[in-house]
Assembly symmetry: C2
Homo-oligomer: 162 residues x 2
């Protein structure tokens, strides 16, 4: 069996493990798992549609969310669609924080990829949930890069710029 | 029950559905599900470490992969870590293609977020898998933004730039 992908739910913090054929194998406790990266995906429903179409507001608040959760902002790229919708990525030294919005459905997809243990993702998501006036939300976490280090400890990226 | 998150495995194309408490409910067929976005995550293991640390190679090949799979490239941002590792995002009109590499472990995490049905993600991933000389790989797909449109059809973003 290979631990290709698994993810943790905010409520239970259990992992669901699949083998190479996509068959569900079993649940594991989080403490058994070591990974290079964490990817956290948030669904924001019933948001304020005008806010979801305001590219400068979203650029500013995404950067603010990144800073508040402990990330180091490297650069950002935001793109306004015609007639509505925004895509954007804040590249952080710890990986990235991305957003895609559908104002016509009041929906925004957030995606935070981090390495190391310095970032507290919930701070960013709670902040953005309020700023976008989301009526409901949900979160899922995946662990990325399951490797078996010789020492038992994983070495995360340096946060110094190259 | 709420269909917060579910994903499809390349082999079986079935969905795993969880309720609000993170409890596995049941499997569904893909055809039952409608979503605004698709997020596809690929793990590449046992890659060529030198390649995974070559920022210009990765920037070029990520853009090439985006074009080959049918995406419209808007912008790109790549960041070289010290002493090793690269993070980068190609913002495409259809959303984004991101990469994070750990050369010291021969591992790269790829992440493609798309909307609409124009993109063929497997073309991008097969291309990058070969370019990075990956020894093994795996893929998972998640559907993002499960909404209930009045007409029964979802409207995807226009690809025209704003």
């Amino acid at each position: 069996m290979r631990w290709d992908f698994f993810f943790l739910n905010r409520g239970s913090w259990r992992a669901v493990v699949f083998n190479n054929q996509g068959i569900l194998c079993y649940f594991l406790e989080e403490t058994l798992l070591k990974s290079l990266g964490r990817q956290i995906m948030v669904e924001l429903y019933d948001c304020d549609s005008a806010i979801l179409n305001d590219v400068e507001f979203i650029r500013r608040e995404m950067q603010e969310a990144a800073v508040r959760c402990g990330a180091t902002v490297v650069q950002n790229v935001f793109h306004q669609f015609n007639p509505h919708g925004i895509s954007g990525v804040v590249v952080i030294a710890e990986s990235h924080l991305a957003i895609h919005t559908w104002p016509e459905y009041g929906y925004a997809a957030l995606d935070l990829f981090t390495c190391g243990e310095e970032i507290n993702p919930e701070i960013a998501f709670d902040y953005l949930e309020k700023k976008f006036k989301a009526g409901s939300s949900s979160l899922i976490e995946m662990r990325r890069g399951i490797v078996k280090p010789r020492s038992g400890e994983l070495h995360h990226k340096s946060l110094k710029k190259g």
